[in-house]
Amino acid sequence: MLALFQKLGYTTLSTLQKLGRANLFILHVVTGLPEILTRVRLLLVQVYSVGVLTVLLVSISGLFVGMVLGLQGYNVLSDFGAEQTLGVMVAASLVRELGPVVTALLFSGRAGSALTAEIGLMKATEQLSGMEMMAVDPVKRIIAPRFFAGCLSMPLLASLFSMIGVMGGYFVGVGLLGVDEGAFWAQMKSRIDFYDDVVNGLIKSAVFGVIVTWIAVFEGYDAVPTSEGVSRATTRSVVYSAFAVLGWDFVLTALMFGGD
């Protein structure tokens, strides 16, 4: 019994300690921003490997999610004779929820895990330590460009996902199932609000971008520097990101859409 409490206490303390480290770490990362702004190339390279290389995955997923929404939405709405509102349903689901959330999950699987593994391996092979000995701060030189590239890429990727999803819904709804094209777009336009839906969705994806990239770079930097440690860190990076995204999605949704 006592051992159980001890274990609980230990877990609590070490979790708090880790949270503390993660917060100090991110403060350190943010101090690297001015340096990045003077060396934009470092950022560009990372936007390429974090953002550009994720575009294909996000686009294809967006297309299929949009098509499924079109199909499912049509089945439900046509029972009520409301298939005119298919565009609204597809766009609202994508812009408010699926765009930010699914993109964040895909992003964490594709880019976040790669970041964790890359940084963890750099630590395990003493590259980070080596940089420190060359009087170069690895947090500013290695971590900061990756972090900001992730924060920048996520909203762009989520917007792409939503746009392509709407296209997919349009293709299935209007193209295949014969929903009236004018009604599809007009209803969508009149019911989707720019500030309430599009901007809030954008804010969500920006928040998720920060969370997912933060977890990814921190897990890599905090990894036990062995091959086993790096592989565990990579798994943790994806799992924690998924929990964090879904949890924060609830909080943000309650704040943004729950009030009125």
Partner: protein, 169 residues
């Protein structure tokens, strides 16, 4: 690893694609284009005894076409009425002065909106005008309770209340 020029091009394309997507969401999917043209829209007001669950930004439509949006809702302390302010797209500037406004529901349980029915006058509504003829929202609970009340009375006296609108509580 790509050459540095190729990376720059790819990143440029990526950022452009993301911004285009955002622009698409703003202009094609949402109502931003409409919100923007609000600048030169004109304002009319209408008073209702009961607006039900009408909200700011609800559509204002004529013959099923959205011509504007509800821009503000307030309460008049003197007359105990709801004052609804609407902004109408300047394209639709030929609404007769005797147009009537009613609060309608999209579908059985859908969102409430304002439907305008044009009258026959020659003069047109302009900025700041008030619509005189209004019909309040139909509040489902009141309709049901009145129906039940009438049943209980046995219907011998006919309808006791006037039809003019729902009484305010």
């Amino acid at each position: 690893m790509q050459s540095s020029k190729a990376i720059e091009i790819w990143v440029g394309l990526f950022v452009a694609a993301g911004l285009i997507a955002l622009f698409f969401l703003a202009m094609q999917v949402s109502n931003l284009a409409e919100l923007k043209s609000n600048g030169d829209s004109y304002r009319i007001v209408a008073r209702f005894e009961n607006i039900g669950s009408l909200r700011v930004r609800a559509p204002v439509s004529v013959a099923g076409v959205t011509v504007g949006r509800v821009s503000a809702i307030s309460f008049d302390n003197q007359t105990y009425e709801a004052v609804v302010e609407m902004r109408i797209d300047p394209k639709y500037d030929t609404l007769p002065i005797d147009t009537s406004a009613s609060i309608l529901t999209a579908g059985l349980l859908g969102e409430q909106y304002i439907g305008l029915t044009p009258g026959g006058a020659e003069e047109h509504l302009t900025d700041g005008d008030e619509i005189e003829l209004t019909q309040s929202a139909i509040v489902l609970e009141q309709v049901i309770s009145r129906f039940l009340f009438n049943k209980a009375e046995g219907g011998d006296k006919g309808s006791g209340s006037n039809d003019g609108g729902t009484p305010t509580e």
